[in-house]
Symmetry: C2
Subunit: 284 residues, 2 copies
């Protein structure tokens, strides 16, 4: 349980598995603790910290926006943060229920990385088998598969090079998003683009499930996202961006807590407006 | 240096890096040693051994065909095997020269796995940088990158999940083929399909370079190819097929020692006929 923003930032920076929803909740709680303890919030600093803690993670960019809009009204900001935390708690589940409808009847599904919304989607859709790409560097796919197996899902881990194999055995592909951009891309863990491209190449539908608090203005860029280091056996360390852009044209359906349907920028614009209205009150 | 077919088969079965050209030469030499020592060749057994040593590797399927056609004429078979070995020696280089023309002007190129023809192509085209996917399971990409670096090429290894990243940084993608099928697919190491699909999705041209002695009737299948076991950290062992089919529609250009141009089944049919004529003499 973090004590204030600074501690929350440290916790989020250390984390390697849990994703965007956990991060926005943790940081919102940290901010709220600061506000409730009566400390004065340094708005510029708070906003900058939120934008640089995990660059590329859309939920933190949206949280920074909320802070920037309400920073000179601490009471309203505290209220918005409370609404946001309640909202996050429920939104993933609702998005997952919607995504599960797009997967209904899919006997075999492929996915990549670890997303709580995808996990809930699979638990709701109950496919016969789920192929989870290992998702190196990081290996979040293994954590995902273990969680699924604990819930009685027949999960199978495959190496990342098997993205095409996984798709060829599946009726649908499903993945989450760390951000969704009004410029026409989703942003998700490195490895999502080859999976989505393989789905498009083999004519298998791809479903993206994410919450509307990840909708940002730009996601079609490779630059400016968190980078990490990966040790290649027999070679050495290489730098890689944690997130990558997936053009919406490679995605068949999007599902959020506010609605779902054919992938496109227009619904993203709508869900973003609705979400901000919900959290900020009338102040959109 | 193998002594006879049996020893050659053992050598090829143990090998984990060297590819189709080395395998066909090694096995052809083994067969020739048997023939030259005056042993009688058990045709059915030789053909079956060739077809099951590395199922999915086109060059061995073609070698089996040659053996089947000439088995009752040992003198002609020996002559054909000698012609084949000479042919293999030169063909990769010639295919690479042609492929390099398709890459001319490409400052950055991405590839996967280890192919001698691709290696020669890159040495001929001399791009500014070559992104090589690690190519797990097996990690042949690391061996490829080390060889390229030893030849002064600026090679960079990336994890397999970075297939989309590699393509986004490249002007072209180049890969080899373990088989090319008249049914409309190439067959290459697992991981080639996500790379080719990413190239198609991002509008980057893909060049496949291979020798005509890999052209077989069928390559659009996942079944019937060599499988191996891969240890996923934190999960356990999983089975994977070593090769996968890549639909020709994801490939922009093919380059062989006998010609090159837009990818398609018709040129494959032509190159196969020309190659068999060359090796078998008039007996096509």
């Amino acid at each position: 349980m973090p004590a204030g923003l600074e501690e929350a930032v440290r916790e989020v920076s250390r984390e390697r598995i849990r994703g965007a929803s956990w991060a926005i909740s943790t940081l919102a709680r940290g901010l709220l603790e600061d506000l409730e303890s009566g400390r004065t919030l340094d708005c510029d600093r708070a906003s900058q910290v939120l934008r640089t803690t995990l660059p590329g993670m859309g939920s933190l960019e949206v949280l920074a926006e909320v802070v920037e809009r309400l920073c000179n009204r601490p009471g309203e900001l505290a209220e918005a943060l409370r609404r946001l935390m309640d909202y996050v708690e429920e939104a993933g589940r609702e998005a997952a229920e919607r995504a599960a409808e797009f997967l209904s009847g899919a006997g075999a599904v492929s996915t990549v990385s670890f997303s709580r919304a995808v996990q809930l989607t699979i638990l709701a859709a109950r496919p016969r088998v789920v192929y989870v790409l290992e998702s190196r560097p990081g290996g979040e796919g293994v954590a995902m598969a273990r969680h699924l197996r604990q819930s009685g899902v027949n999960a199978v881990v495959l190496p990342d090079s098997a993205a095409g194999l996984a798709v060829s055995r599946s009726n649908a592909v499903v993945f989450g998003a760390d951000a969704a951009g009004l410029d026409g891309c989703l942003r998700n863990k490195l490895g999502t683009l080859p999976l989505a491209a393989s789905a498009a190449a083999l004519g298998v539908e791809a479903v993206a499930v994410f919450e509307s608090y990840k909708i940002v203005s730009r996601a079609c860029v490779w630059e400016g996202v968190e980078t990490r280091s990966y040790r290649v056996e027999g070679w050495g360390d290489v730098e890689y961006p944690v997130f990558e852009p997936i053009p919406l044209r490679l995605v068949s359906y999007i599902a959020t807590e506010l609605g779902g349907g054919r992938a496109g920028v227009e619904p993203l614009r709508l869900y973003r407006r609705l979400f901000l209205g919900e959290v900020l009150g009338g102040d959109v």
